[in-house]
């Protein structure tokens, strides 16, 4: 079935798709957003680890291969709001050194833009969605910018107790920048610090798309169609322009949505899957893939968690799932001797009992009566800190189409991911420092959260660069090959940095959407 042609069709209603939808709808464009999953409301966000899993990925699975298979189930999203419906809303930004690793260290590649190109959009996003923090305090590590619109969030004993330890190793901690309301903001209430952010904030104190950009988009007339599973991007006969998308609705009936511009904002893994599945005689390797770079350079973060039990009640149930304190003190690419890559440090997070992040998983080796005893001790005195590490882009880490197909006949995506030899060095360096911090903080028991090296925050796959010889898109997310086809989200990151990605996703999406709106007649004409 063909639907009335619109100006823009956006695939995905998460952080990036919502931002594009808001900007373009407010610019007067007719916008349709297609979302694979349900149309969640705030009232659907139940304060429970069980029920929070309903907003985690469903639909066609990705096949996971490589030495360090990507684990996307906890971080990914399902339905309107996407992963940003249940993210932790830590809002660190990338720093200037992230944009020029090649120039400064002859590794990886430079971004085609600098920090200064993105900085105004960080400030703008902060005003749009509401960010709490202390920008001035962060300026010991980054260029000055606008102050955040809200003061820092409250802190609690489970965060404060670590400060002495950080100080002992020379790490300065500052109030964490978070996409949460420390005060009422734009009609949304202040946070109540009950620590259920990770299953979705039903009061809208956390800046999820439902209460920020997607709400703006809907108000400006954008239409959001849930249960719309996009399978192909369509092109004209010459292969010079995209003309819309093919999708299947909730009844599994094929639909076509024509549009002057297509924005793929599905997910770092799903966007390449769509491009690869949209091959034609003019684009035999898939759209925007003449250079073979679609799906390449997938990246993740890894964390070194230091866990400890203190001999006092740290009230670990209090606060937010995001951090109370953060630090870029080890963000220099060579900050740790013998290792390469940035580390971003956080402390002070509210904890629950179950689920992947629950403290029952803090000692996975325990079961039976020993686990029961640990749970009692941990309920009172357990806390943890973390250091996110940066993975360098590697062309072998990739998405490709598998021979298995989903229920709609679309090939499944296969994600192949292995860490290089640098990653364990940085992982270990952060573990070692974490234990020193815990000891100095006075922890009674302390240990490193080992196991397999985790894979967090999937990025890359449609990276940005200076041209088709090195990338899929330009700095706005516009594909080099087809002017009216855009990519949005963490897939366009050229490198990963070590900062949680969503603030940068919002900022780059805002930058891309504004460029598209400004140059509309050239791009869509």
């Amino acid at each position: 079935m063909a639907n009335e042609k619109v100006d823009v069709v956006i695939v995905g209603a998460g952080a990036s798709g919502s931002t594009y939808a808001a900007v373009l709808a407010k610019a007067g464009k007719k916008v349709v957003v297609l979302e694979q999953g349900p149309d969640w409301q705030l009232s659907d966000l139940i304060s429970s680890d069980f029920w929070g899993r309903r907003v985690k990925p469903a639909g066609a699975p990705f096949l996971l291969e490589g030495k360090n298979p990507v684990s996307y189930g906890y971080q990914g999203g399902w339905g309107v709001g996407g992963a940003a419906l249940h993210y932790f809303a830590n809002f660190p930004r990338l720093l200037p050194n992230d944009f020029r690793i090649k120039s400064e260290h002859n590794r990886a590649h430079d971004w085609p833009i600098s920090y200064q190109d993105v900085a105004p959009y960080y400030d703008k996003v902060a005003r749009d969605v509401g960010v709490s923090g202390d920008a001035k305090a962060e300026e010991i590590w980054r260029p000055a910018g606008d102050p955040y619109p809200m003061p820092p969030m409250k802190t609690f004993r489970n965060g404060q107790i670590w400060l002495k330890g950080f100080e002992s190793v020379g790490i300065r901690m500052v109030p964490a920048a978070v996409g949460m309301n420390s005060t009422e903001y734009k009609g949304r209430p202040a946070c109540i610090y009950d620590g259920w952010c990770h299953v979705g904030c039903p009061i809208g104190a956390l800046a999820n798309p439902l209460v920020t950009y997607l709400a703006d988009a809907r108000k400006a007339g954008a239409e959001v169609r849930p249960w719309s599973n996009v399978t192909r991007v369509l092109t004209n006969a010459q292969g010079t322009k995209v003309t819309g998308v093919e999708y299947y609705d909730q009844k599994k009936e094929r639909q076509v949505q024509e549009a002057s511009v297509v924005v793929l904002a599905a997910w770092a893994a799903q966007n390449p899957r769509l491009l690869l599945n949209s091959s034609t005689d003019k684009h035999p390797k898939g759209l925007a893939n003449t250079n073979g770079l679609v799906g390449k350079y997938m990246m993740t973060h890894f964390s070194s968690g230091t866990l400890a039990i203190f001999d006092e009640n740290v009230e670990n149930h209090m606060g937010t799932t995001g951090a109370q304190y953060m630090s870029y003190e080890r963000y220099g690419k060579t900050a740790h001797k013998g290792a390469f890559g940035s580390s971003f440090i956080v402390a002070g997070t509210a904890l629950k009992t179950s689920d992947l992040g629950g403290f029952a998983n803090a000692r996975l080796d325990l079961f039976g009566p020993e686990l029961a005893a640990f749970m009692k001790r941990a309920a009172r005195g357990f806390s943890r800190i973390g250091a996110f590490g940066e993975e360098m882009p590697n062309i072998e880490n990739r998405i490709e189409l598998a021979s298995d197909k989903d229920e709609l006949g679309m090939p499944l995506g296969r994600i192949i991911h292995s860490y290089d030899d640098e990653v364990p060095k940085l992982w270990e360096a952060n573990f070692a420092e974490g234990l020193a911090i815990a000891k100095a903080a006075g922890a009674k028991e302390m240990w490193s959260g080992r196991g397999n090296i985790p894979t967090i925050h999937l990025m890359g796959g449609t990276i940005m660069g200076t041209g088709a010889e090195n990338s899929v898109v330009n700095s706005y997310g516009q594909t080099h090959e087809i002017a009216n086809l855009y990519m949005a989200g963490p897939g366009i990151f050229a490198t990963s940095g070590a900062s949680n990605p969503t603030y940068t996703i919002f900022a780059l999406s805002l930058r891309g959407a504004e460029q598209l709106a400004t140059k509309w007649s050239t791009i869509a004409g």
Binding site: R53, R54, P57, C201, H317, T353, L371, M375
Partner: protein
Amino acid sequence: MSQMERRAFMKGAAGGALAFTVGGIEVLLTPAAARAQGVPLRTLTAAQAATLEALGETLVPGARHAGIAHFVDQQISIPADEALLEARILNVRPPYANFYRAALAAVDRASQALNNGRNFTQLGEAEQRSLVDNMRQNKIEGWQGPGGPFVYLLLRSDAVDVVYGTMDGYAGLGIPYMPHSAPTKRW
């Protein structure tokens, strides 16, 4: 789902109850209540449920009475995109029933091989602990099925869910549950 059905579902969901079929009628019960009332299983066999209960109890004391078997049985009997299982987060490929059947069969196969043909439920407590500990460390020779450490992780998570993830579980540890909106039931 109609708006009215959706509201009814959400009311139950907020309380933590799941939809079990009793006498041909769907009722909202906690898994513990479903077990106590003898609600018929929908997907697991009685033998599989017994193995799951024994495993759950070995992993997390209290899991049997908290209804781990009824919880898993109900969850693997509904569409995967509605499931509340940790399997969803750990990238288990649906249908989830396949994983549980394979995992429980693997445990019983290993138990029989190591204990003169006895199933896991027929072992003493110390033997059950020993098997679980070896499964955790991938030390069971000839193990057939999903990886032993992964089976341990996932079933332990289910057991933690039903024992410690509920409002009663929080109360038992002395932790304020602090939901945004107070559930109508304690699950």
